[in-house]
């Protein structure tokens, strides 16, 4: 019944590495060049190229070379879609929580001015 187990092994190998998962999350935000990724993860270009190749083999990332710059973006794989989806959801909650922070900040200030000297 499971006909894509070979592909899944490749996919699983690709995402078993924490750096490669972080690269996927980064690409869910926006496309990036190999050198941008290497900088972001404090790695050598060669090291990052290897990670990207593994992700590319799994269909999680596609790359395109224009001039001297190789640009990476999320690939056609279902897991790449999922990374994109989760990132959108995370951004929604990030914004929501930032707004909650603002409300809580205000409550904190109010507590200080409304009840001076009251320690509880």
């Amino acid at each position: 019944m499971v006909q894509y187990s070979g592909q899944v092994d490749t996919t699983f190998g690709a995402i078993a590495d924490a750096t490669r998962r972080a690269v996927l999350e980064r690409l869910a935000r926006s496309d990036a060049s190999i050198s941008e990724l290497a900088d972001a993860f404090d790695m050598t270009l060669t090291g990052m190229r290897k990670h990207v190749r593994v992700l590319e083999d799994a269909g999680l990332v596609t790359t395109e070379k224009i001039g001297r710059v190789r640009t990476c973006r999320l690939g056609p794989s279902q897991l790449a879609d999922e990374a994109r989806w989760i990132e959108e959801y995370r951004q929604l909650w990030n914004e929501r929580f930032s707004q909650l922070d603002a409300v809580v900040e205000e409550l904190k200030r109010k507590e200080k001015t409304d009840e001076p000297g009251r320690g509880d």
Binding site: V8, A83, W85, E87, N94, V104
Partner: protein
Amino acid sequence: MNPAAATDVTNTENQTTVERTSDREIVVTRVVNGPPELVWEAWTTPELFQRWWVPKSLPMTLVACDIDARIGGGYRLTFDFDGSTMDFYGRYLEVAPPHRLAYTNEEGEGEPTITTVTFEATDDGRTRVVYHDRYPSAEALEEGAGSTDAMPESFAQLDELLATLNEAE
């Protein structure tokens, strides 16, 4: 490890993390800059809740908000989306201020989604908020979690397969 997780790597101050812990559960975690009592207040007081729940980048507003945070009590949120309104409502299952809140989301058909929120004090006087949604099915999660792109149904199957492989490692 879970492939279906996202962490904000650019903001080390207050990270929002999202994790799909199963095909019908999603967990959001974030530290908020205030004690649990105040976060609870912001979460259960209608005038306050109304000010932060809807991200400003979304083309919708929360026009009415009733919150009766008691066991057996309920809530109703009315959103305006491009001139048409939508109601979201449910009832409270657990109300333990300022640490734990659980409620149903009844607007869909069939079994409700259950939301559980915990507010845990951190050592430095802030609050770790863990927001947990349990959907009645994987399909309901995909529809309900506010995604703008539909996720293919096969994700759930692929997730299961990967979980099996993960256990086998």
